[in-house]
């Protein structure tokens, strides 16, 4: 099931001296495969990991992750 949380990590990596997935993974303490899964919206990171990612890029959490709200029937 695709995650309702999307992200701008790939774009932010390229904007930060073309940071590699491995470099980002090392910076936040996750594996490169987990970073790949996050970028592909196959895994939603913990709040702590999300904050660390935002801190690496020097942006707010909302600039990295976007939540697609579910519409509830009225």
């Amino acid at each position: 099931m695709p995650s309702q949380i999307s992200n701008e990590i790939r774009r932010l990596r390229f904007e930060h001296n073309e940071m590699t997935q491995q470099a980002l993974a090392d910076a936040i303490g996750l594996t490169r495969q987990t970073v790949i899964a996050i970028e592909k919206n196959r895994y939603s990171p913990s709040l702590e990991a999300a904050f660390k990612i935002a801190e690496v890029f020097g942006v707010t959490l909302g600039e990295v992750f976007q939540y697609r709200a579910t519409e509830f029937p009225g």
Binding site: M1, S3, G29, L30, T31, Q33, T34, I36, A37, R42, Y43, P45, S46, A49
Partner: protein, 143 residues
């Protein structure tokens, strides 16, 4: 396909475990069928299977570690732990159901202790295989 070290480890363990225990159970089943199994014979087959399993696991995982030393040293991250937990949770249900079924079978049928022991062992092997298979599924497809 970009496999993590843990995925490679799970694949290796799943294949080794399947090969060793399928071979074991085929041999036990043939002995049970012709009535030639004894407790000592069953223990001998079991020890042989365990020794083979341990040796293969050690050799293969040393090989994996040598080819990917950095990945082998890396601690499990949050996704690894979640996958391990989710797969283990389902595997626990599988084990519980198997044990209940075997217990029921043992209570209502006159069966040998060797057969009961091997059915329980089969349940353990099946549980572990489900654990590995589910973890591999979660790594590839998420949840």
């Amino acid at each position: 396909m970009n496999l993590t070290f843990r995925e490679k480890s799970y694949w290796a363990s799943l294949i080794i475990m399947s090969a060793v225990w399928v071979n074991y159970f085929i041999r036990v089943q043939s002995h049970l069928a012709d009535g030639s199994i004894s407790r000592d014979g069953s223990i001998g087959l079991f020890i042989g299977a365990v020794v083979t399993l341990v040796i293969l696991e050690i050799v293969v995982h040393i090989g994996l570690a040598v080819t990917s030393p950095k990945a082998a040293d890396q601690a499990a991250d949050e996704r690894d732990r979640i996958i391990n937990s989710k797969a283990g949770n389902v595997a626990g249900w599988v084990l519980g159901i198997c044990v209940v079924l075997i217990g029921g079978f043992a209570m209502f049928r006159d069966v040998s202790s060797v057969l009961i022991a091997n059915l329980l062992l089969l349940a353990l092997v099946l549980t572990q295989c489900v654990d590995y298979a589910l973890a591999l599924f979660y790594y590839r497809r998420g949840w």
